[in-house]
Symmetry: C2
Subunit: 440 residues, 2 copies
């Protein structure tokens, strides 16, 4: 292709933090390569960043034509900008910026999971009205292609389940606890030292919020119905102990923070919580900061995607992949929807109370005759049926540890039974309640 | 969306075998679902199948409007047909049909790996000339999205390695040999009984030809340069013995048929052969007919996709995914290239002779002093350096088995050294030569 035939696609970036650096570096260094591949040249013509320190870091030598500003409006109002790349994160003011871009007939690429999980529908409506689209592959699982496949190759299938390890920080912590026999606090500190967890406030990761956003987005796309973070049950990993890891291993399980979405006959269940999974399942071998997600469909049976779910390089690959998707058939005179919104259904959400799970329970009890009978009787009255049990001696005089794994039971019934157990004089404490997912 | 707003996309199918049945069933049963999702209705309006027995199996009740014929020309010449789905397989007459369809300005979707691996470039040229496209997600890895991701989300990255288990039949056979301690012949029979391997002539699978086609296609896309089956080194699994499986396991390895493509500084190497891989690597846990492929890139580091690489349901999901990709923005008046050909480079191919590998070698030797010194001396003269060795007793008097794993060595040098070893009086036979891939 001759150089004069190559059309230029103009990009305006809003936000110039960690990921934006990666995007800038990728586009700058691979400009010729991408032009050869798609016959279009990607040109960053504007950058808006309100932090003066970050503005200083914008490499000025790559293109002297880049207009740098502290005001997003400069990007949004420039009629030359074809694609706006929003990388400031959070809902406000990102929503305002993105909706203005779409209303101005610009395509948008974002890595903002918080924004898409909470306001995706509103943004899609504005995009559709203006015959443009918003792409957000990078908002879920970093460099792993999942939104694109769900919206294209897998679009004909009826997806009924998604199960994934979607947060790298918590997976790193659980891996350290399992492999190096560290405590939760020691592993969290290791994650912070590696830069995987925020030092000031790691709760977005360890309390499961990050995974909730991602699951809300994935479930919405997979089940064609809007699932918001408020619809997702959430439990973090802060209460997982070294003993839990140890007992789980003895029983053939690993503990992972899972994001699980299911669509059973049009009723959606979405939940993020630690889970015991079989030690020989592929998800059990996903270690450190790697992510993986299984997608189950009527036709495909199951597929799994695995890779780095975070980091500036992997994430920027997805951002630029979306830009390429838009650029490939870009036509200023005749824009169009690329994937579009696929939430055309309005399915019910099942509450966690009415969801059935298997459970792992660890409790300290008195070590004397009749204890098990009393506990079994409480379980029986609440429809909790026991699959397996192990007993461990403790250092406490006359004490023992009991570890149960139940059969499937409604979450509500399990929690009721635990309340009753706690009132038994023979039960000293119920230390751990963790769901068990057998996975297939 | 109101029904009258829904545009109809007309599909003509050529070939009505196993996969075509799946495609027909999927489109028929999910027509409304797909229409809601993409705002277009997929209508199969013509089917051409030359086998009268298969024509009888075409369900006539789904739509009385389907015109059935024994002549592909009836599909190709119908101006109402927007998308031609070619599912007859093989190069001839598929090439003729597909090129005619493209020349007539029709989009093409195919699952034909043989055709795309051998004649992809020619077909792309015709497609480009006519401003249409040919999509073939189903030609590689059945229901697992891999071509779409490589052409979109991963298009910005510089992919430098692909390693995959891309043939389900051979993976099933090797899994049975490893898990059930069956011989190769017993496992092949099991695969034939399950319908995974052809009874009459299983060689396309077990000799590695099927994997070669797939690797040629994946390497061409990943490395942006044409790789044909003739460029791919091939070795099947027919010479793998139960002893190899057993010795490999003892040394911590599994044996898998790998398809490996690499691009080292613009020189491509592509090869299909059995390999010892570390037993704790994720690829070692890919069992039975499942497939998995790792893609390594400068930005993504690595991603892996896993799923069912064959079967009518999984494969038809990819065929219809491609149809959806075309249909989503279909415009009769203004067609366009969707992904297009991305082989814009012309890279060199490295011969297997000049490729470096680690090797597993199993040989029967005389059990007497000085044997190892003689063998080591031959290895030394050919730059073969030994990483580890185990010795096993045999039933043969005065005989022993030696198992070596070498360090990296040029294939040429390794084979030269084996020729020399065979001439030593102390070496009774060199039974197995299998490459070892440490994988990272």
């Amino acid at each position: 292709m001759k150089d004069k035939d190559i059309k230029k696609i103009n990009i305006g970036m809003i936000g110039f933090g960690y990921i934006a650096h990666g995007v800038f570096e990728l586009i700058s260094s691979q400009k010729e390569y991408i032009a050869k591949k798609i016959g279009k040249q990607l040109d960053i013509i504007r950058i808006a960043e309100k932090d003066p320190d970050k503005i200083k870091k914008i490499p000025g030598d790559v293109s002297s034509n880049i207009k740098i500003s502290s005001d997003a409006a400069d990007v949004l109002s420039d009629p030359e900008v074809d694609i706006v790349v929003e990388l400031i994160g959070g809902i406000d003011p990102a929503f305002e910026f993105v909706s203005s871009a779409l209303a101005a007939g610009k395509y948008v690429v974002t890595a903002n999971k918080d924004l898409m999980a909470n306001r995706g529908r509103d943004l899609y409506r504005i995009a559709e009205k203006n015959n443009v689209d918003i792409l957000f592959e990078a908002s879920v699982l970093g460099g792993i292609p999942i939104i694109g496949p769900l919206k294209t190759t897998l679009a004909s299938d009826r997806i009924y389940k998604i199960v994934g390890i979607v947060n790298g920080t918590t997976n790193y912590i659980l891996t350290r606890m399992e492999k190096d026999s560290l405590s939760f606090d020691q592993s969290l500190k290791a994650a912070q030292d590696m830069g995987y967890a925020e030092k000031a406030n790691p709760s977005s990761d360890i309390e499961g919020y990050d995974a909730v956003y991602k699951l809300a987005i994935l479930s919405s796309i997979a089940f064609n119905s809007r699932v918001t973070p408020a619809n997702v049950y959430r439990e973090g990993i802060t209460r997982i102990t070294s003993s839990d890891i140890e007992f789980a291993r003895e029983m053939g399980y690993s503990i992972k923070l899972l994001a699980i979405g299911t669509d059973e006959d049009g009723v959606i269940s979405a939940r993020v919580h630690p889970s015991l999974i079989p030690g020989d399942h592929i998800l059990a071998s996903i270690e450190d900061v790697f992510n993986a997600v299984y997608v189950y469909g009527k036709y495909i049976d199951r597929i799994m995607s695995y890779g780095r779910g975070a980091g500036d390089r992997a994430t920027s690959s997805s951002v630029v992949g979306d830009i390429i998707n838009i650029a490939r058939n870009f036509d200023r005179e005749r824009k169009g929807i690329i994937y579009g919104c696929t939430c055309f259904e309005n399915k019910k959400i099942r509450s966690i109370d009415n969801t059935a799970s298997k459970f792992y329970l660890a409790m300290d009890v008195a070590d004397r005759p009749g204890v098990l009978a009393k506990i079994a009787s409480v379980f029986g009255r609440h429809d909790v049926s026991i699959n397996s049990m192990i007993q461990k001696q403790t250092d406490v005089p006359d004490g023992a540890k009991l570890i149960f794994i139940t059969h499937m039971v409604k979450n509500k019934d399990l929690y009721l039974s635990v309340e009753k157990l706690k009132k038994l004089d023979v039960v000293r404490s119920v230390n751990s309640i963790i769901r068990v997912e057998d996975l297939d």
